[in-house]
Symmetry: C2
Subunit: 603 residues, 2 copies
């Protein structure tokens, strides 16, 4: 039976108690972490979000009724304990922040009892994630998840404070917006008042924030919920959160400058880590050439080397064939791995095939300078020697090569580099290595749609010096777009936006939009642009990913209070669920599945 | 043609310029507010969110090309002006914060041109709201709306800062949740991966925040978007924002205490207004009896008087009839309005009919002490005299009476009181008058459903001393619920929650839920309650309404960047819109309307 806490007031959280309070009467409230009964002594550990404190009930010292009550406590009972803080009579517990002290109790109330929980509430649990997610309210009692959510809260508070001090206004933009077929798939919300019509949940507040710039808001910030109805990969959630901002009367450098000061303050105040400013910048082209990735992990080297020129006349058809088709041959020098077993190399070959590569060619330089290679027989010794030289190959090194279209080579060697970095532990796990990637291509050729598509979005500004190329060689046009990358993860990205009618029109033309198509989707923005638009630019961070990295976690689910699983369902609430028939009728909707059943019956 | 701002950097916002900067070179960027051409002088007012600055181009002094360019500027062009701050040569403009100074320009760039806007960008516009909402990006340039959004941003920042300092954690709860048929109508979101299944957008994070307390988060805050698919009345939006909080190990007084400190700091720091603490408290019963409202406007008196006892034996059948049916007779003394014309009284009678009253009985006490009354003929002089005495009636007063069921009398006289308060200007418009309303009834009888329904929600804790009544007289049970009322508006409300299994079960029983029904809707919460629940309580403010009152606005649309209109559509984006056929197919949905058309065709 639950006792009331009437008349009681908590004086401290458990973890706030220190030896400085010795002799003082306190009242703590929390969950029973454990309860040990040892020769007339009952030790009860009480836990709350701040930590754990030991309460010692002692035969002869503690009132008999209290002692009996304490002995009956079980894990996860909620209790209120009033007592006096004393230095521990027994050994100090070094593993506990409050390990020097204990409470000698004068009062105990059981505020709520508990059944035996389905898994113990402890750090570094081995319990399957499915079970933890079903009982998320218990999982969230574990100190590691509590720390994660406390860190996230701190990040959000500090973020808002920083940007408020910098003159950014927090403005809420609508969740029930207009759905557009462009880009990722929207979540739709049927309208009851307008049957057959739908709102779209925002994939980002992009259009609204640009409109706020048109509206003269000057600087905007929002920690905004965003939605994407895509098949979930690891580390994707159907709803996720962006730190979203936009600034008027600025260019690339202004956005970068304020965000560097933000990141520096965030990491200093939350993690006590100094971010070296200015953060290094790298063009997209350089990042791809050197690391095969637009989000390079700079905690380690092992860069890609372009050996196309070296092998262009060699005897190995895989290399020359790729080059003949306009492709490229690049290699990685895996230092000191010349003795890697063939089986392991085969695994790496399987790995790159996921990225479209047909295979990996390798050269293992033995300690005696001789060479084991999958393709030595197709090359002269001289060709091999110059290839090794080009790769800075030394005895004991393993050289890995991919030959294919440029994109395939970048993707597969870029991923392989990161994979090897992890496997070989080439980097400091506690390092935080930032880099800005700039000058992204404006457009990407879509084989599927047989047209150019915007690499960021259709409102991204081309670089002024590349404007003349937009008619002659659109694929070469670079954009005023930038990503901020941390340890190989894109944590944010943005761009300067187009604010000129004529450039925007040209952009839609290149993207193959008719005027009507552009208007039906973005009409209100194009209209707004007729009435005086300030030059503006913005950036958005993925909050969950940022916090995940700051917390040293592997999954964004560990920094989200109530995440969804891969099929976008919630294991705790079981959402989504079938709707009430009445609700569907009000919306003027029919669920097709049921109709099919009816058809089948009529057959 | 738009010029680039490359090479230019804004040094100040327009409103930041002061006489202290005299002689200094500055660059401002903003919109042309107006442009006057006067005998070789061109005066250009440049506006941004901070204010307006005058730029003076002068023949002979300004370079000719610049002067010509300036003369061609039109309203809402976006410009960058570089020049020197000087004391005004002409008269100081007292109505402008920067009225002492002007810029003598050395450079001018037109960053963006503008068509003539559909309405002028000015304060206190007379433009129809429909037009303003269609061009919201222009409407939001008006200084009054800019001030509102800046105020709202300030409120949000300060709110988060205050609660973070008080140990509250900001935790994000899901938007894609489980839909429940109880309460207001949910917005549904069809699932593509689970065809025929739906998420519900949250009406509030109520269940999640209680789960966070179960999870040991201790104190939670979120500025949370909420959704209700109801027919919109004035001042309702389909999506709205709550300042939502929950606290563990607390009772009513703790919640009130921290929120009083919050309100006091908020009003001091944002408006410079001192809130008198502690804020007055009034039970629900007292508020209804004295003001006919659970959100009384205490900026003025004119309280209701119960005259049921006085008139119970009188000859006026309307009074005694109402009393015979268990009703009540109450009156308002409208001081000094004894000479109110009959026509005006008739209008007030029509007014109360909207609240269910059958009419208003009146007594107008003339200056000479004689009486004009709609019912004097049914009463003896003595009865009338004692009625007037009971009402503290004096010569020149107007007494208005309603006789009906208690609820009807409260509603109609409560509304009439507020209406007369406005018409007769009985209160100081700049006053902020807070009151806590406490001890709400736990249950309300629903005629429609022929059962008790929860007045707040099914998790509200009954007052301990009323627990025995829950079986014998459930309508009499008071709840540990509280509202915070400002100037006759409920700006927030909350309650202590049930944290005991047995009380919760009893509650569902009284509400007529079977165990299965309770489980199918709230199973995960009831499950959570088996594993140790801390006593907890919470509160939520309606952010939009709070900011509306702080900004002295009449409509919440004036404090929301992109509001919707009465039919829940957005006049700017035209959302909601018909969905793409492909999107519907992916969701396994059919729009019924189209089906009907097909049927009709087949007839």
């Amino acid at each position: 039976m639950a006792e009331s806490m009437q008349g009681l007031k908590r004086t401290h959280r458990c973890g706030e108690l220190t030896a400085a309070l010795e002799g003082q009467q306190v009242t703590v409230m929390g969950w029973v972490q454990k309860n040990r009964n040892k020769g007339g002594l009952v030790f009860v550990d009480v836990r709350d979000r701040s930590g754990v404190i030991q309460v010692v009930f002692e035969e002869g010292k503690t009132e008999a009724g209290l002692l009996e009550k304490a002995a009956k406590l079980r894990a996860e009972y909620v209790v209120a304990v009033t007592g006096t803080v004393e230095k521990r009579s027994g050994a100090v517990n070094e593993s506990l922040a409050t390990g020097e002290i204990e409470i000698i109790p004068e009062g105990l109330r059981v505020l709520s009892e508990s059944q035996t929980p389905p898994f113990p509430i402890e750090e570094h649990t081995k319990t399957r994630e499915e079970v933890r997610l079903k009982y998320r309210y218990l999982d969230l009692r574990r100190p590691d998840l509590q720390r994660n959510l406390m860190l996230k809260s701190r990040v959000m508070t500090l973020t808002r404070q920083f940007f408020a001090e910098e003159g950014f206004l927090e403005v809420e933009t609508p969740m029930l917006g207009k759905t557009t077929p462009e880009g990722a798939r929207d979540y739709l919300v049927p309208s009851r008042i307008h049957p057959g019509c739908f709102y779209g949940l925002p994939q980002s507040p992009q259009l609204y924030k640009q409109l706020l710039m048109c509206a003269g808001m000057d600087r905007y910030i929002q920690i905004a919920r965003c939605f994407r109805d895509e098949d979930l990969r690891a580390d994707r959630q159907p709803e996720f959160t962006q730190i979203d901002m936009e600034l008027s009367f600025v260019d690339v450098d202004d956005v970068i400058e304020v965000n560097e000061r933000y990141l520096s303050r965030l990491f200093r105040e939350v993690l006590g880590i100094e971010v070296q400013l200015p953060i290094r910048r790298m063009t997209w082209q350089e990042a791809m050439d050197r690391f095969g990735s637009d989000k390079p992990d700079l905690r380690f080297g092992m860069e890609l080397t372009d050996v196309s020129d070296v092998v262009k006349d060699c005897g190995f058809g895989v290399f020359t064939g790729a080059l003949d088709q306009g492709g490229t041959v690049r290699g990685l020098n895996v230092k000191g791995q010349g003795a890697m077993p063939r089986k392991k190399i085969d695994k790496l070959t399987a790995f790159v095939k996921d990225y479209g590569a047909k295979g990996l060619a390798y050269v293992a330089i033995q300690e005696d300078g001789s060479v084991k290679s999958s393709f030595a027989k197709f090359m002269t010794e001289e060709e091999m020697a110059s290839l090794i030289r080009a790769m800075d190959g030394e005895p004991g090194d393993l050289l890995l090569f991919a030959a294919d279209k440029q994109k395939v080579v970048w993707d597969s060697l870029g991923a392989l580099r990161v994979e090897l970095g992890k496997q070989l532990e080439l980097f400091d796990k506690n390092a935080f290595c930032f880099v800005w990637i700039t000058e992204f291509p404006l457009l990407e050729w879509s084989e599927e749609q047989n047209r150019y598509v915007a690499m960021h979005h259709p409102f991204t500004m081309p670089m002024e010096e590349d404007l003349p190329l937009i008619d002659t060689d659109p694929g070469k046009v670079r954009a005023k777009a930038y990503d901020i990358v941390l340890n190989g993860n894109e944590i944010g990205g943005g761009s300067v936006r187009i604010h000129q009618d004529d450039v925007q029109e040209k952009m839609f033309e290149v993207l193959g939009f008719t005027k009507e198509q552009a208007y039906s989707q973005f009409g209100f923005l194009l209209d707004a642009f007729k009435y005086g638009v300030p030059p503006h630019a913005g950036l958005a961070y993925g909050l969950d990913r940022l916090v995940m990295l700051m917390a040293g976690q592997e999954s964004i689910r560990d920094v989200i209070a109530f995440p969804k699983v891969k099929d976008a369902s919630c294991l705790m609430t079981e959402a989504p669920t079938p709707a009430d028939q009445k609700q569907l009728e009000e919306l003027g909707l029919l669920v097709k599945k049921e109709e099919k059943t009816a058809d089948e019956k009529s057959l």
